[in-house]
């Protein structure tokens, strides 16, 4: 039985590869080259750097498994970066990691694993998959601090049947200890934090570097007062407090971004509250689940109680308590206790 391990050069996928090898799988390591700068060079920070590929290559050599770097820069550019830019231009807050999982990792890489007759695609995500009478179920990883089930919430049965997340049963400490025990050079490598293609700069610099130069527009208070002028809606996300460029004494938050008019609306913290969200591109792990569920709308946010209803393809999530800083474009994942039941993209908030 063959397993293709997506190796980022980090400790989690290194240990995932080691665990599969230990369990007797015929393992192959692949680093997905997702991004390159305009000059064609590999980035020097974030993921997919030359040194990350080198780390993955050395770990693969240590495990005595074949290893390749595959170029997915075109797929990543069209499927992830293009959408990322479009989202900001339309006043939405993108989640590129979810989009990468959906359009590149768990579609293209999975298809390529098929073509090479690999039974499983393995990643270092902190989440768990169980099978139950031929149906696959997706759960949070056992380490609550590292759980990554949120960015996997768009996975369905066809994909889960072919996936394996070996470190989902471990805590990060256990993963690191195992890497150290196996003598893997990535054992003490710091976790990656940044959006890989944005690197250590901020996303605004990235957008500017991509030639995104949105128009100026007004900043208006919820109460109708014109507070000032902004230099492009891409500089804002819902709930943002810093860097608004207006000072009126009281703390202000971005409450709405309207791409058509270019108006950025700000208000008090009390204006941030959202009672209800509609969700599009909803994907269910197995079959649709409605009623009293838990909803999570940030990668490391808390899951909060909500009532979920489904009507003509439109999923509506009504929160038990008003939620702050829910932004259009963000992923919303639905849970029953620790189990993921589905995920989608926030379309509207009220």
């Amino acid at each position: 039985m063959r397993a293709l391990v997506a190796m980022s050069g980090g400790v989690d996928s290194s240990v995932a590869a080691a665990l599969m090898k230990e369990q007797g799988w015929e393992v192959m390591g692949v680093t997905m080259k997702l991004w390159q700068g305009p000059d064609g060079e590999a980035p020097t920070a974030g993921c997919c750097t030359v040194s990350d590929a080198e780390d993955a290559r050395r770990v693969a050599a240590r495990l005595d498994i074949p290893y390749y770097v595959w170029d997915y820069t075109e797929e990543f550019m069209s499927g992830v970066v293009g959408g990322f830019i479009d989202d900001y231009l339309t006043g939405r807050t993108p989640n590129p990691c979810v989009e990468c999982n959906r359009t590149v990792k768990f579609s293209r890489l999975l298809a390529h694993a098929d073509a090479l007759e690999y039974d499983l695609v393995v990643t270092g995500h902190y989440a768990r998959i169980t099978s139950d009478g031929g149906r696959y179920r997706l759960w949070r990883g056992v380490d609550p601090g590292k759980d990554q089930s949120y960015v996997l919430s768009m996975l369905g049965q066809a994909q889960l049947a072919r996936l394996c997340f070996p470190v989902g049963d471990l805590t990060k400490d256990q993963t690191r200890r195992m890497a150290a025990r196996l003598g893997l050079r990535t054992a003490h490598k710091p976790d990656s934090q940044d959006i890989c293609f944005v690197g250590q700069g901020n996303y605004r610099d990235f957008l500017a570097g991509q030639g995104v130069a949105p128009a100026q527009g007004p900043i208006i208070h919820q109460d109708g007062r014109l507070l000032g002028v902004h230099h492009g809606i891409t500089n804002f996300t819902i709930g943002q407090r810093r860097g608004l460029g207006v000072a009126v004494g009281e703390p202000l938050y971005v409450t709405d971004i309207d791409a058509d008019s270019g108006i950025v609306t700000v208000g008090d913290r009390s204006d941030l509250g959202v009672d209800e969200a509609t969700v599009e591109n909803m994907s269910w792990v197995d079959r649709p689940v409605t009623g009293a569920l838990l909803a999570q709308y940030r990668a490391h946010g808390r899951a909060v109680p909500a009532e979920v209803s489904l009507e003509d393809e439109l999923t509506t999530v009504r929160f038990s308590e008003p939620q702050e800083a829910l932004a259009r474009g963000q992923t919303l994942a639905l849970y029953v206790d620790e189990e993921v039941v589905g995920g989608g993209i926030i379309r509207t908030t009220t």
């Binding site: 080259k33 390749y68 170029d71 073509a115």
Partner: protein, 377 residues
């Protein structure tokens, strides 16, 4: 194991190893010293220089040993651009090796004018067009002998005639790293002033090469120091590797005709069998002169990265021709210059034969490649 990646590197020839072996213990002196231990090393170095020079119809003083083909290309381009204390202009083609293109780009960043002659869809330059780019500032014209990706053989002799006709004093460099493997080189017949070789492409050790520098061609050094190689390349010589390179050149020259016949036979059998089993196969540069050791093909509908994994698993080593620093296959600048779209370039693979290729390997490899490609279609 079928090794069809000789254009990346060839195994060491036994003749090269035999020549290098005494250097394991016995010959360790610095050839620049004055005592007996040094003299032994110096003699070995100069014997190698004499041998290498004679094999390409050069004078010993025209040979500069370098740390490989890339260094030879760098020395040719930068050394010429910087010669005479000015930033001379460079004329080259877009399908050159990255060592030439990178050197030209580096010079450009300091002020050298760099112009590119166009290539046809078959990857050939037009000698008259190359010559048309020459100006009074031109320090070097660089057109490779055989392309390292496609195997297309450039008309270097005609380029030499055209550029010398346009401007008799202009200096012509050729990267013969691949071309020399399958074709005897006579620097006068080629009509070049500078010529790069890399030992490991023809069965010598890695990390050693040479630049032929026609007598009287001014060249600024890149490596300054002790003034070795008549000041053109300082640094203590890698005597063992240089001796191995010269021995590999001699071994190659000894079997020139047999090498060409055997390698071309296997390459042609490979392509014929491939064409039979994959009717829509496209051979790159099929209408152009090609080196006998290279087969660059496109298999429509098959992504090269995927096929390489299957071939690797089946025990066949080939290549997608160019890889970036991270190891990912990149869309080739050579194919791009020939007008191929990135999507088609991703379907191209290079199979390259060499001195250790055995009879029957061509057909055997073609069957294996066609089978694995079929599984991906």
């Amino acid at each position: 194991m079928l090794y069809l990646d000789h254009a990346a590197s060839s195994p060491l020839r036994p003749e090269a190893w035999a020549a290098m072996e005494p250097f394991r213990h016995d010959v360790y002196g610095n050839p620049s010293g004055s005592h007996g231990v040094s003299r032994r090393a110096k003699n070995a170095l100069e014997d190698s220089r004499d041998l290498a020079a004679s094999l390409i119809n050069a004078e010993p003083g025209e040979i500069v040993f370098t740390g490989g083909g890339s260094e030879a290309d760098n020395l040719a381009i930068k050394g010429r651009a910087l010669a005479g204390g000015r930033l001379g202009a460079i004329v080259t083609s877009p399908t050159e090796h990255d060592a030439v293109l990178g050197s030209a780009e580096h010079c450009r960043s300091f002020g050298s004018a760099v112009t590119f002659a166009k290539v046809t869809a078959e990857g050939l330059v037009d000698p008259a067009e190359v010559a048309s780019h020459i100006t009074g500032d031109t320090a070097v014209v660089s057109i490779m002998m055989g392309n390292n990706e496609t195997g297309v053989r450039m008309p270097v002799e005609e380029v030499a005639a055209a550029v010398k006709d346009a401007c008799p004093g202009v200096v012509l460099h050729t990267d013969a790293v691949q071309g020399y493997v399958s074709e005897r080189v006579d620097v006068d017949v080629l009509g070049v002033d500078l010529l790069s070789l890399a030992a490991h492409k023809f069965g010598g050790p890695k990390g050693v090469g040479l630049l032929y520098v026609r007598s009287g061609t001014p060249l600024a050094p890149l490596v300054h120091g002790g003034g070795q190689e008549l000041g053109r390349r300082s640094g203590t010589h890698n005597v063992m590797a240089i001796v191995g390179m010269a021995a590999a050149m001699a071994a190659l020259e000894d079997e020139r005709a047999a090498f060409r016949a055997r390698v071309m036979g296997e390459r042609d059998a490979f392509e014929a069998t491939m064409a039979e089993l994959i009717p829509d196969l496209v051979v790159t540069g099929a209408g152009a002169p090609r080196m006998v050791q290279t087969s660059h093909v496109r298999i429509p509908g098959v992504r090269n990265e995927m096929l390489l994994v299957r071939l690797d698993r089946a025990g066949l080593a080939a290549s997608a021709a160019s890889a970036c620093q991270s190891g990912a296959a990149t869309v080739s600048h050579v194919l791009e210059a020939m007008g191929m779209s990135p999507a088609l370039a991703r379907e191209c693979l290079r199979f390259s034969f060499g001195w250790s290729t055995a009879e029957g390997e061509g057909v055997c490899a073609a069957r294996l490649v066609a089978g694995e490609a079929g599984a991906l279609r």
